[in-house]
C-alpha cells in the first residue's frame, strides 16, 4: 500500500521524540534556528518531563508559510529517537506521514503502520563508528539526525554548519565533530532515500527584523530596561529562567564601568514568602524590584500580596503559569492561575494583571508593570505561562524608546514634603484615586507608619468603620481607574455575531481557528484580553456579539469568570472553550469545540448565514 502526503512547501509539522538529558534539546533548537534563518515562519514547542535525565521528551516544530505556527496536532513527520515511546509516537503520525527512526536496532514489527512511511537510519551505528567517547556518541546522534533532517526536509545545511561554527567558535574540535556528525546523517539520508520529502522547506523572506527569543528572557529584558535594581526569587519551573536571564543580563550590562560595582542585587530567597517580602521591602524603599514564580509560589505569596494591596506598596510579580493544582505538572503549560492572581489574599482584594501573548509582550509588559505598580502603588502581576516563557518564539525584534523614563507615580520629593503643612499618607489627590507617597530617608516630615492593619486616610491606625471603609472604597476605585492605563485588548474584525475571546499564548491558535471557521462558514470577530481591570473596549466587544466564545487553558473558565464578574455583560453571552491538558493550544481544539457548541446551542442565526 502506498500512502501519499501532498507535496507542500513550508507547510508541515514534525515531532521529535527523545530521551531527556541526552542533548537532544540543543539539536532541536539548532533545527529551529536554522529554519528561522531560512526566513520561514516557524515555531518550536518543547514538551518535556519534570525530570533531569532519562525520561521521554518531545519537541514539535511547525513550519507554515502563512505564519500559522500554533501547535499543529497533525504530524507529517515523527523523529522517533526514543525506543520507549515508539508505540505512541508511531501512532501519532498522520496517515501518509513519515517516521524517521534509529535503525541500529530492528523495529518491532507490531509497531509498523501501513499508512505511514518508515525511514530507518542507523544513527547509533554511524556514531559509534565515527566517535570513540561514549558521551560524544550520545551527543552526536542528535546532530546526525539533524543532518538527516536537513537532507529530508531541505534545511539549508550551510546555515546549520554556520550555526555550529558560531556555537563552537572557541572549541574548533567540537565544531568539527559536530559538522562531521551532521554530514554523516545527511549523507546517509541522501544516499538511501529520496530527498527531500514531499513536504519540505524552501528559503523565504518572512523573518526580516525578527528574532528568536523565549518569553522569560524577554521578561528579564523588560525588567532590566525598566530599571529594576532589586530582584528576589526562589527557584521554580517554569519561572527560573526569568531570573537566570536577568542575572546574565545584569552581569553584562549592569556592572558600573567606572567603579566595577554591580548596579543591581539578586537575592535568592529562602522561599516565595521571603521573595515577595523582599520585593515589598525594596519597593517600599523606592527601588524598582520584582520577583518571578509559578503557581505554588503565588499560593504562598497570598498573604503578602494582600499586605501590599492594602498598604499600597508597589510590587512587580511575574507568574509563569504551569499545570496545577498543587505541584501538578511543572513542565506543562496552563492558564489556571488567573483567579488566584486577580483576587489573591483574604479580604477584599483585586490586583492588576497583565497578560502577555508572546515574548514581545513579555518584554513590553514587564517594563510596563513597573510603571503601573508605581503609578497605582499596588501589586502588578504579569501572568505569563510555560509555553510563552520557555519556548523560543519568532517575534519582531524588540524595540526600546530611549526617551522612556520610569513613571514613578506620585513620590513626593524632599522639597514637596518640606512645603507640606503635614504629610498624610492615604489622602488621594484631587481627581485621582492615588495618594502620594514618601520614601524613607528623605525627610522626617515625610515619615509615616506603614501597616497592614486598619488605617484611615491620614495613615493613622483606626478601627472606626467609616474611616476604614473610606480607604477600602478608594482602593476599589483606584483599581478601576487603572483600566485606562493598562494595555487595551487586541480586537480584530467587527460586525460578526460571534466573538472569540482569548488571552495569552492562545493567540496564534485562536487566530488560526478564526480563519478556519471563516472557511467553514462561521464568521467570528477576535479579541485578546491583555489586562485586568478590563477596559471599556472589552465590555463593548462582548456586548456587540450575541455569543462570545472564551477560549482559555483551564478547567474552570477562569477568564470567563472574571469577565462575568467584572463587566456588566450577561453571562448568557459568554461560552467557554477549555483546553487544559498541559500542551500548547492548537487551532483544531478551538474549531472543534466552537463547531460543536454552535451545533448544540441556539446560536444567533446570522452567524452562519452571513459569512
Amino acid at each position: 500500500m502506498e500512502h501519499h502526503v501532498s507535496a507542500r512547501v513550508n507547510d508541515f509539522a514534525m515531532k521529535l521524540a527523545n530521551v531527556n538529558g541526552t542533548g537532544s534539546a540543543s539539536a532541536n533548537g539548532l533545527i529551529l534556528q536554522a529554519i528561522f534563518r531560512m526566513g520561514i515562519p516557524v515555531s518550536g514547542k518543547n514538551l518535556f518531563p519534570s525530570n533531569i535525565q532519562g525520561l521521554p521528551t518531545w519537541y514539535e516544530i511547525r513550519v507554515n508559510r502563512d505564519g500559522h505556527v500554533a501547535r499543529a496536532l497533525d504530524y507529517d513527520l515523527m523523529v522517533a529517537m526514543n525506543a520507549q515511546t515508539y508505540d505512541r509516537d508511531v501512532h501519532e503520525v498522520r496517515s501518509g506521514g513519515y517516521v524517521l527512526y534509529d535503525s541500529s536496532w530492528p523495529l518491532d514489527g507490531s509497531l509498523l503502520r501501513d499508512d505511514v512511511h518508515f525511514i530507518g537510519i542507523p544513527f547509533a551505528e554511524i556514531c559509534n563508528e565515527a566517535f570513540a567517547e561514549p558521551r560524544e556518541r550520545t551527543l552526536m546522534k542528535n546532530i546526525a539526525y539533524t543532518g538527516a533532517l536537513a537532507a529530508l526536509l531541505n534545511i539549508d545545511q550551510t546555515i546549520v554548519e554556520a550555526l555550529l561554527a558560531e556555537s563552537f567558535s572557541r572549541k574548533p574540535a567540537l565544531r568539527d565533530s559536530n559538522v562531521r556528525a551532521l554530514r554523516l546523517g545527511s549523507d546517509y539520508a541522501q544516499k538511501h532515500f529520496t530527498c527531500p520529502l514531499p513536504f519540505h522547506m524552501e528559503t523565504m523572506n518572512a523573518n526580516v527584523g525578527k528574532v528568536l527569543i523565549d518569553g522569560n528572557t524577554a521578561a528579564a529584558l523588560g525588567c532590566l530596561y525598566a530599571g529594576a535594581t532589586v530582584a528576589a526569587w526562589y527557584p521554580i519551573t517554569p519561572a527560573t529562567s526569568v531570573m537566570d536571564g536577568f542575572k546574565s543580563l545584569c552581569e553584562k550590562y549592569r556592572k558600573d564601568p567606572e567603579t566595577g560595582v554591580n548596579n543591581y542585587i539578586i537575592l535568592q530567597a529562602e522561599d516565595e514568602l521571603a521573595a515577595i517580602g523582599m520585593v515589598i521591602g525594596a519597593m517600599w524603599n523606592g527601588a524598582r524590584a520584582f520577583t518571578s514564580t509559578a503557581g505554588p509560589g503565588i499560593s504562598l505569596m497570598n498573604e503578602l500580596l494582600g499586605l501590599a494591596y492594602y498598604a499600597e506598596i508597589p510590587v512587580v510579580l511575574v507568574d509563569v503559569q504551569r499545570v496545577g493544582p498543587s505541584t501538578g505538572m511543572p513542565t506543562r503549560t496552563q492558564q489556571s492561575d488567573l483567579l488566584e492572581c486577580a483576587y489573591a489574599s483574604h479580604g477584599d482584594t483585586k490586583h492588576i494583571l497583565l497578560l502577555p501573548a508572546n515574548p514581545g509582550e513579555c518584554f513590553e509588559f514587564a517594563a510596563k508593570s513597573f510603571d503601573l505598580a508605581e503609578q497605582f502603588q499596588t501589586p502588578v502581576i504579569m501572568v505569563s505561562d510555560l509555553d510563552i516563557g520557555m519556548n523560543d518564539w519568532v517575534i519582531p525584534e524588540l524595540k526600546w524608546d530611549d526617551s522612556y523614563r520610569p513613571n514613578r507615580g506620585r513620590i513626593l520629593s524632599r522639597e514637596e514634603i518640606e512645603a507640606l503643612p503635614r504629610f498624610e499618607r492615604y489622602m488621594a489627590e484631587n481627581g485621582t484615586q492615588v495618594a502620594p507617597r514618601t520614601l524613607p530617608g528623605v525627610h522626617p516630615k515625610g515619615a509615616y507608619f506603614t501597616r497592614g492593619s486598619g488605617h484611615n486616610k491620614f495613615g493613622n491606625y483606626t478601627e472606626t468603620p467609616a474611616e476604614y471603609q473610606e480607604v477600602l472604597d478608594r482602593l476599589l476605585k483606584k483599581h478601576r481607574a487603572a483600566a485606562s492605563f493598562v494595555p487595551a485588548a487586541v480586537i480584530e474584525g467587527r460586525g460578526s455575531e460571534v466573538g472569540i475571546v482569548t488571552l495569552g499564548g492562545c493567540d496564534a491558535a485562536v487566530r488560526e481557528a478564526v480563519e478556519i471557521l471563516a472557511r467553514r462558514g462561521i464568521r467570528a470577530d477576535f479579541m485578546r484580553v491583555r489586562a485586568f481591570p478590563f477596559g471599556p473596549e472589552i465590555e463593548a466587544f462582548l456586548n456587540a456579539h450575541e455569543t462570545n466564545f472564551i477560549v482559555e487553558q483551564n478547567r474552570d473558565a477562569q477568564l470567563r469568570s472574571m469577565l462575568t464578574l467584572e463587566t456588566s455583560i450577561s453571562k448568557e453571552k459568554l461560552q467557554s472553550v477549555l483546553v487544559y491538558g498541559g500542551f500548547p493550544l492548537s487551532a483544531r481544539h478551538v474549531v472543534e469545540q466552537v463547531v460543536t457548541q454552535m451545533d448544540q446551542t441556539p446560536v444567533p442565526v446570522g452567524a452562519r448565514a452571513r459569512s
Binding site: V211, R254, N263, W400, G446, A447, F449
Partner: protein, 351 residues
Amino acid sequence: MPSIAKPRVAHPSAQLNQIGLKQRDYEGVMSTLCAGCGHDSVTAAIVRALWELSIEPHMLAKMSGIGCSSKTPAYFVNGAHGFNSAHGRMPPIATGANAANRELLYIGVSGDGDSLSIGLGHLCHAIRRNLRMVYLIENNGVYGLTKGQFSASADVGSKSKRGEANQMSPIDPMLLGLSLGATFLARGFSGDKEQLVPILKAAIEHRGFAMVDIISPCVTFNDHNGSTKSYLYTRQHQIEATQMDFVPPAREILAEIGTAGEIAVTLHDGSVVRFKQTPEGYDPTNRSAVSRYLEEHAGTGKIVTGLLYVNEAGPELHELNHTPAHALTKVPYEKLCPGSKVLAEMQQGWR
C-alpha cells in the same frame, strides 16, 4: 488614647545631642501596650541609644512583624518611616529594604512568636545573609497579642497563666545564631537599661546582622509564679557575661569604662567596644570559647546577658553582592538602562 503614661527616662530633657536634637525628638506616638510591659522599657532604651548616637531620625527605618512587640516601632522616632508588616515576615521585608537602600539604619523589632515560630526560617536566612540591621527580639516566652500561648522560647517547666507547664525545650536565639554563623549576638533585659543601651549602640554600629535577644516580660500573660520570663525570675537568674560601654566614634570617653579584665573589640568602622568581663577571660570574639560558655549555661536556668559574640570580619549582604557604596535607589536610570542600541546589538545573537 493609651491607658498608661509612657515610661520616661530620667535625664535632663532639654539636653541636645550632637545634631541638636532632644531625646523627645526620638519619641513616637503614645504606647498602647499594657502598663508595665517590658516592651515599653525597650522602647525607652532604643530612644536613648538613638539619641546618644545622634542618629538622624529620617535615616532610620523601623521594621517589624506582628505582635505587641511589633507594635513598638510606632512608639519611637516619629520622624522615621516604620513598617509594621505581617507576622513573621519582617526579615525578608527588611532584606529587600536594605538591598534597595543601604544608607539607612534598620532597626527591626520582633517578638519571640514572630521570630522563633512563624518567622524562624526567615530569621535564620537573614543571619546567613549577614544583613546589616539591628534585630531585636523582645522575648517574653509568650504570644502577648493573642493572649498568652507559649512561644518557642518558653522554658521547660514554665507555667502558663492557665497552670499548664511547657515541656518542649526552648529555642535560644543566641545558640541558634551561633550555629548559623551570626556575627553579632547579645542579650539584655528590658529592666536593665544601663546594660541595654550600650548593647543597642554596639548593635547599631555593627556592620552586619546584630541580633539582640531582650528578655522583656509580658506583665499580663507571663509575669506570674512559675514563669521563667517574669521580672522576678529574670532578676534573680540574670548573670552578666560582659558589661560593656559602647563608645561611639566621635566621643570615645575611655574614662567611663571599667578597668579590670577589659577587652576591646574593634568594630568594622573603627569604633571600639570595650567589655568588662564578668567571667574571668570571657572573649566575645573567640567563637569556640563563646560556644562553650553558652553551652555550659544553656539549660542551667541562668540567663547570660551582655555582648556575647561578635565577629566584625564577616562580609555583609552588600559586600557579598558588590553593590555600590551608596543606595541602589540613587543609581540614575540612565545608568540602569542599556538603551536601544545595546538592545539591537544583543538581538543580533538571537537570530
